[in-house]
């Protein structure tokens, strides 16, 4: 029960007025960002990151993770009241949430959404509390080849399991890895890909790229759409909350199933979107009367919300334990950690105990505080949508520019941000996924270092990646995942060949 003692210590670190206030501020900002059209988790964290530059790392990460929880909560508000999913993973919530609002049961649907988000996150945080220290102590034995194999596994699983066209995922990933290498080479001190430009000497900063890719491009995309909306206003009374909570035990199977799906999908890259749909579909399949789904059934809100939040939260597990983010937002949080000079990965649990356990404790506290906050303030946040986008858009642009400039005090970075904004807009429209790019950019130099160190260790022999059982099986798994679509097809047709034969025989 060492974890438990450390967790209590984490709570002790957190329970100061300053941290609690920061937590509230983070949550409010997060909900705000989640409710606004065209913004969400990753964009919100990216834009608000500069606010935290002058704080100490613990306060900063507490605030950032609270922005993230807030954004997750906020997405549910617009899905239910306005039928506008703020995030792709809220789409499944609209199926039953919006019909409930139309029937005048908005308060019930919102309470269900917030409560199940809370439960999903809680399960995932419990998982992190007990699993992350184990994984990280195991990973302490890793050498460069093992780390490179794990990075390879992450990249390959994106290519093999992603839904986008394979070559587009490869483009996005190799571009990210290449841009990560621009500037001074850390091993030899030589300059690479700078073409004599003094500005490129510093390299392409990950956060600048992210602010452009997610912040600026999202505004361009949002403007394309019709921004009119109509929806229901709702206030949540204590009576409704209690009546929903009283019925909660009836749905324990759904909640548990969705939490499990969410945790599983959150750890593997790919994440929350798949989890929310899978949670919804499974709840529907196992229900006695599947036809009642989509017409305002409360279980249809519980299932996707629990899964989405469990997966959004558990995406932080590989980030903390191995230094590999499980989602775009986790990648941005990881970029933040690096700004404060913390190197995410197994050593974090040894060298910065206070920080890690403070963060984990903040996940518990942030979710409890967040639940209370959203339940009491829904009407205020719903009315934020009355603010015209023409007022919100320029403010977001300014915040993005401040963020991009603050990282390195460079005007060049503002231009870079604008450039990435255009790139992000075009990429999103032609289906080049941005998540692999983000991940590659943040992991690029570490993946390269791991590769070069293993090569130096082995004298240039590729066999080092199969030199022992552990690294060998990770590398093999990575390559299998890379060719998963091909294998899947091959085995599928084998199966078809075999099945008619069986019927005939």
């Amino acid at each position: 029960m060492e974890a438990f003692g450390l967790l209590l210590h984490g709570f002790a670190v957190l329970l100061t007025w300053k941290t609690l206030v920061l937590m509230m501020v983070g949550l409010v900002l997060g909900i705000f960002v989640g409710v606004l059209p065209g913004l969400g988790g990753p964009n919100g964290v990216a834009i608000l990151l500069p606010l935290t530059f002058t704080m100490d790392p613990t306060s900063a990460i507490v605030m950032l993770s609270c922005i993230y929880w807030g954004a997750l909560f906020g997405g549910a508000i617009t899905s239910i009241l306005f039928n506008i999913p703020g995030e792709a993973w809220s789409v499944a919530t609209t199926f039953d949430g919006y019909p409930m609002a139309q029937q005048g049961r908005a308060a019930e649907a919102l309470t269900a959404a917030f409560t199940s988000s809370f439960i999903g996150s809680l399960v995932a945080v419990l998982l992190i509390t007990f699993l992350a220290p184990l994984i990280s102590s195991f990973a302490l034995k890793f050498g460069p080849p093992e780390f490179f194999a794990v990075y390879l596994l992450t990249f390959c699983s994106f290519v093999g399991l992603g839904r986008e066209a394979k070559h587009k995922t490869v483009i996005s990933m190799s571009l990210g890895l290449l841009l990560a290498g621009v500037g001074m080479d850390t091993v030899s001190g030589q300059l690479r890909m700078t073409f004599g430009s003094a500005e490129l000497l510093r390299g392409i900063n990950f956060l600048v790229a992210v602010i452009g890719l997610f912040g600026i491009s999202e505004i361009l995309l949002t403007m394309e759409e019709r921004l009119a909306l109509r929806g229901h206003a709702a206030a949540i009374s204590l009576r409704v909350v209690l009546s929903v909570w009283k019925d909660l035990p009836k749905y324990w199977v759904t909640l548990l199933r969705s939490s499990f799906i969410g945790c599983w999908l959150g750890i593997t890259p790919g994440g929350a979107i798949a989890a929310s749909f899978m949670g919804y579909n499974l709840a529907k399949r196992f229900a006695k009367d599947p036809d009642s789904f989509g017409k305002g059934r409360i279980e249809g809100v519980f299932a996707p919300e629990t899964a989405a939040h469990a997966s959004g939260t558990s995406a932080l597990l590989p980030m903390l334990a191995l230094g590999i983010p499980g989602s775009g937002t986790a990648a941005i949080l990881l970029g933040g950690l690096m700004v404060w000079g913390l190197n995410p990965g197994p050593l974090l649990f040894v060298e910065h105990k206070d920080f890690v356990w403070g963060l984990i404790a903040s996940m518990y506290l942030g979710n409890v505080v967040g639940l209370i906050l959203v339940l009491t303030t829904v009407p205020i946040f719903a009315s934020i949508l009355r603010v015209p986008f023409a007022a919100v858009a320029p403010m977001i642009v300014v915040s993005c520019a401040i963020g991009a400039y603050a990282i390195q005090n460079a005007m060049f970075d503002i231009w870079l941000m604008l450039g990435f904004g255009v790139v992000g807009y075009v990429f999103k429209k032609i289906g080049i996924p941005l998540a692999p790019f983000t991940l590659a950019l943040v992991l690029g130099s570490r993946a390269e270092d791991a590769f070069r160190l293993s090569m130096i260790g082995s004298g240039g022999d590729m066999k080092v990646f199969w030199s022992n059982g552990l690294v060998g099986s990770i590398t093999t798994l990575a390559i299998l995942l890379l060719f998963w679509p091909v294998l899947d097809k091959a085995f599928g047709s084998l199966g078809r060949l075999w099945r008619p034969a069986k019927v005939a025989g």
Binding site: G421, V426, I456
Partner: protein, 180 residues
């Protein structure tokens, strides 16, 4: 289905028309992007080849890892180029309609001007001009509301970043006149 709850209604008078003609199809854009990426891959690959892609006494040379990545990027873009040329589906998909392009430009051009102004007038003046100008001209919001919002937002940003958190932003002649 009547209920006592108040509805929230927001209109979008300048929404892009649904029947606006296309400016470009996804295929055209995909081909252009693939060509650009191919050119980028060639440039970066050449630069890395020059840096050294072989092995020396200390292990792989600095250009080794990125050179092979450029090869991967080049290969994937080449595949993308061919795939885009052959794709019938993408040819039918609209990248952007004229009305949409107009709206996107209505954000992009002010953002571009904002970046330019930041370079010469400093961030705060530029942000005041961007917010006030955008709200008034693009959003057609009342002048006093636009000015008030712009002043308030810029002031809050200035106090938060330059004064409270000591994150120094680029400044121009106006701030210099006030001694910052």
């Amino acid at each position: 289905m009547s209920n006592s709850e108040v509805e929230i209604v927001v209109d979008d008078p300048t929404a892009p028309e649904a029947d606006s003609p296309d400016v470009a199809s996804n295929r055209v854009v995909d081909v252009v992007v693939s060509l650009l990426l191919l050119a980028l891959a060639a440039t970066l690959g050449w630069d890395n080849w020059r840096t050294g892609i072989g092995w020396d006494s200390t292990g792989p040379q600095p250009g080794y890892f990125p050179f092979y990545l450029s090869v991967v990027l080049g290969g994937a873009s080449l595949y993308g180029l061919v795939a885009a040329f052959l794709s019938r589906k993408e040819a039918r998909e609209t990248f952007v309609t004229r009305a949409q392009a107009r709206r996107v430009m209505a954000v992009f051009v002010p953002t571009l001007l904002f970046c330019l102004l930041t370079q010469f007038l400093g961030l705060y003046v530029a942000s005041f001009l961007l917010i006030a100008g955008f709200m008034r001209l693009v959003g057609k919001i009342a002048l006093w509301k636009s000015l008030l919002t712009a002043v308030a937002f810029t002031a809050v940003m200035f106090v938060t970043f330059d004064i409270a958190f000591d994150v120094i932003m680029p400044k121009g002649p106006l701030e210099a006149a006030f001694g910052y």
